[in-house]
Structure formats: structure tokens, C-alpha cells
Amino acid sequence: MNPWPFVIAAYALMVAGTLALVGGSWIAMRRAEAEAERLRRGS
């Protein structure tokens, strides 16, 4: 059995999952901190 399709699928899953996790967490953090800062300055 050719193992390469399984190896590539595993790496693709890992990259996609890690990128989604890091990217999603970073965007949520930036949005929340920007909103908190905007409210702090506004009041």
C-alpha cells in the first residue's frame, strides 16, 4: 500500500487545524481588545 496519500492527508489536516485554531484565536483576541480599548477611550 502506498503510504504517501495517508502521510499527505495527515499533514494537510494538521496544518489546516492548527492554522484555523491560531488564526481564529488571534482574530478573536484582536477584535475583543480593540473593542475594549474603544469603549475605554469613549467613556
Binding site: L13, G17, V22, E33
Partner: protein, 240 residues
């Protein structure tokens, strides 16, 4: 530990650390993927499929480390009433669940060319699947408690009780006859049965994944603290 109970003091340290962990972790992560895919040698019996080792093992380590962190945060919350402990516990749950799911998926993809099957209900795989369900339960409970303005004590108790699964995962390959291979690295004695050309890329991958995991946890803690500040300010504005 209580020196960092003040969110402002915690944020002063967390802000620069997030960037350091994130960038160093990303460089090591990319390097580990390249090393695992292109440069590490194939294994004598498993051939090229052993390359999945460099992503599967760090994911498994982080899945278990995430719950170890949740258990530690639960103790800090229940015993010392540390104000950031509940925030840390909740911040650990999503990355822990993601890496546990990735561990199961990559392990399944490794199993097909190696064992001839994607899944077997053996001790190691089943206990890792239980860990994923525990994470999902923890997230659901944490969300429900937060919605009811609870202090997260039930969630912390769940985090502590769930830690009983960690030694089961660790010793599953010793207690039961499993399809999964036995322990290759003994953290206590520092001994390893993995050859050096394969061990070093694995250790670098584990370090890179761990730093990225740390960055994600810090990002999620910062997000929750910012949301708490927004909520508090909105309440004050509504009251004025």
C-alpha cells in the same frame, strides 16, 4: 502564583509572551513539518508512513497536557480561589480538544497503512476518544455556567474528575494488549528507543507545537479578559 492574580499584571507579561511563543512556535512548527516530510529517514519496518509520527505524537502530548493544565487550573480555582484560574481552564479547553481530535485523525491515517485499519477499539485509542468527549463536555459545561453568571466551580470539579483519564491513557499500552505501540520515550528516566535521526526532529516538533499551544492559550485568556472588561463597562454605562 497569586502575584499574577491581578489581570493587569498578568496582561503586562502575557502581551509580549504571546508574540514570542507564537513566532518562535510558528518557525519551529514549519521547520518540523519540513523535516518530517522531506528530511527525516524512513523507518525500517513502517517505511514512509512513519513521517506521521512528527505530527501525531506532539498532538497527543498536547491533548494530554491541555487536560493536565485544566486539572491544575481547577485546583488553583477550588483551593486558592485564584481569579485567573477559571479563565485559564476555559482557554486551555479549545486548543486541547482540537489537538486531541487531530491526534485521533492523524493516528487513524497512520493506522490504515501500518495496521490495515483506520480504527480499533483498543485501550489507547478508546481512552483518547474519551478524552475528546471530556473536552467537549467541559466546554459545554463551562459555556452553560458562564451564561448563568456562575463562578465555574462545577466546571472545575469536572476538570479534576476528568483527570482520572490521564493515567489510563498513559498506562493503557502497559495494562492491556493493544494494537498501539508501547511507550518509546520515558520522560522520567529520559530514555528513548527511537534512533537519534528521528528523535531530534520529534523533539523540535514537540517544542514548536507546545509554544504555539501556549500562544493560543494566552490569546484566548486575553480575549476573555477583554470581553470581561467590555461587559463590565457596558453594565456601568447602562447603570449611569
Amino acid at each position: 502564583m497569586h502575584a499574577y492574580a491581578n489581570p493587569a499584571r498578568f496582561l503586562k507579561i502575557a502581551r509580549p509572551l504571546t508574540g514570542w511563543f507564537g513566532w518562535v512556535g510558528a518557525v519551529l512548527f514549519v521547520g518540523a513539518l519540513a523535516q518530517g516530510l522531506f528530511f527525516a529517514p524512513p523507518e525500517r519496518l513502517q517505511g514512509e508512513s512513519v513521517r506521521i509520527l512528527y505530527i501525531h505524537v506532539p498532538a497527543a502530548w498536547l491533548g494530554m497536557a491541555g487536560w493536565t493544565g485544566i486539572a491544575a487550573a481547577s485546583i488553583a480555582q477550588l483551593v486558592w480561589r485564584h481569579p485567573l484560574a477559571a479563565v485559564a481552564g476555559r482557554a486551555l479547553a479549545v486548543p486541547g480538544a482540537v489537538f486531541t481530535a487531530l491526534c485521533l485523525a492523524t493516528g487513524s491515517l497512520w493506522g490504515r497503512p501500518t495496521w490495515g485499519t483506520y480504527w480499533e477499539w483498543d485501550g489507547r485509542m478508546t481512552s483518547m476518544l474519551v478524552l475528546l468527549f471530556l473536552y467537549l463536555g467541559y466546554l459545554a459545561l463551562a459555556g452553560a455556567e458562564k451564561e448563568r453568571d456562575g463562578q465555574g466551580r462545577l466546571t472545575a470539579i469536572f476538570g479534576l474528575v476528568g483527570a482520572i483519564n490521564l493515567p489510563i491513557i498513559h498506562y493503557s499500552v502497559i495494562w492491556w494488549n493493544t494494537l498501539h505501540q508501547g511507550q518509546s520515550i520515558d520522560l522520567l528516566s529520559g530514555r528513548s528507543s527511537i534512533a537519534a535521526p528521528m528523535l531530534w526532529p520529534l523533539l523540535i516538533a514537540a517544542l514548536g507545537f507546545t509554544l504555539l499551544f501556549g500562544a493560543v492559550v494566552l490569546m484566548r485568556m486575553r480575549t476573555e479578559l477583554a470581553r470581561n472588561r467590555i461587559e463590565a463597562r457596558m453594565k456601568r454605562m447602562a447603570a449611569e
